[in-house]
Symmetry: C2
Subunit: 256 residues, 2 copies
């Protein structure tokens, strides 16, 4: 059932994508924080986060986006659209994407019934909609304290948009995920010079260390006149290699 | 030269997409704020923001993403990758996407020369890289006070990732953009009930007002036990229609 164990070869860096579903994000009503949370968490876990697509509540958009990303990445995380109102169509879209059906998941109904009973609420058809899940799912992942399940269909994890729920579920999932053999190491340098002064030197270091990802990020300081400083990031699964690249840059930089 | 004037028919809502380019966003080093800024600004302008794709600093990813979105949307905004270091490859990717060349843009060099001269800096090859632009561009859009130009190639606007620059340029561009004939109106209701209590009633109102976009957003409040409240948003280009949909919901809601 756990396809990831067989699909991510040992030593290879797994690649993940996210689909943020919601008109509220695209219309500026809501600031998406889930993709930033996922970015930091996947980085810490050693998974390369390679693409985020933010799309509207349209069934064909969701369906085609999920299908495309599922075939290109090891893991896909979706956020949003699994509530009980008319604009919650993610389960239906994923059913459509993979030619599945939708069926009531009785263990979820029972957990939900207990949750709502404690608040004096009886289940109605809207609640049942939230327990009607793509079938067959590869896994229904429960998170302690939550009745909302994370549904896994193939390599796609279907999560709610509410940040506190999304974050709890990402933690549950990543605790079970085979993320390969290593984590990323990122070393940073902050320089009081503009990028143009170090560009050539940096390009040489990048050529010398092709497997270290070297990023250069200018920052604009609001003086008069405004001035630029530069942050350099050296990222690698091999900590020593990242250190060596930093040292190579620093020894060249002294001579500029 | 201004293709938008002819491509967006009067009365039709123009659709925009964004490409956020940068490993720093995907690795969680940097929180992207440009897409949120664009979402709010396009909404205010009456442009439908229909897709955001966040992608790494890889030339083929940038090239294929921009080409695909350019053919599907009226406007595409890119953010990032137009500085002077080895990881700045957006101009080259867009050159590749549309079969263009790259040429030094002399007016940009002159503006840059004046800018840097005031700080006692002479131009070098790294600076020249920033003035080597896709050719032919459809438009080079300057922003008062900035030497960095916004380059327009077809329906694609190529912008820097630094938020203050990105935001200034979006303003300059939108001031020139033909956004059709109307703005969006969004009316909100905050209800002290969970979504499941209003889902059926809301679905009826949505059927009655198919052109009003009705979104329902649960909020989890951290009481003990935690409880849900619901925000409803009614969005339309036709303000009266949005008001009528709210009224239709409220009259039904009284009877729940």
């Amino acid at each position: 059932m756990q396809r990831w164990a067989s699909t991510v070869a040992r030593g290879r860096i797994p690649q993940a994508a996210a689909v943020i579903i919601g008109n509220e994000v695209l219309s500026g009503k809501t600031k998406d924080t889930n993709s930033y949370y996922l970015a930091r968490t996947l980085f810490d876990q050693g998974v390369r986060f390679a693409r985020i697509e933010t799309i509207p509540d349209l069934i064909d958009d969701i369906s085609s986006t999920v299908r495309r990303l599922s075939s290109s990445f090891d893991y896909v995380f979706t956020s949003g659209g699994i509530g009980c109102t008319h604009d919650d169509i993610t389960y239906e879209a994923i059913r459509q994407a993979f030619g599945l059906s939708l069926e009531v998941h009785h263990p979820t109904v029972e957990t939900m019934r207990a949750y709502y009973a404690s608040r004096g609420v009886k289940l109605n058809s809207a609640h049942m909609r939230m327990a009607t899940l793509p079938y067959p799912a590869d896994k229904i992942i429960s998170t302690p304290g939550l009745w909302v399940p994370a549904v896994q269909v193939r390599n796609v994890f279907i999560l709610p948009g509410i940040p506190s729920l999304f974050e709890s579920m990402v933690k549950s999932i990543l605790a079970q995920l085979d993320c390969g053999t290593g984590k990323f190491h990122r070393l940073s340098l902050n320089l009081a010079v503009g990028e143009s002064e170090i560009a050539d030197c940096l390009a040489e270091v990048q050529s010398e260390f092709p497997t270290v990802e070297i990023g250069s990020y200018p920052k604009l300081s609001q003086g008069d006149p405004p001035s630029y400083t530069t942050q350099l990031c050296f990222t690698s699964r091999d900590q020593q290699l990242a250190r060596d690249a930093v040292a190579a840059f620093e020894s060249r930089f002294k001579h500029i």
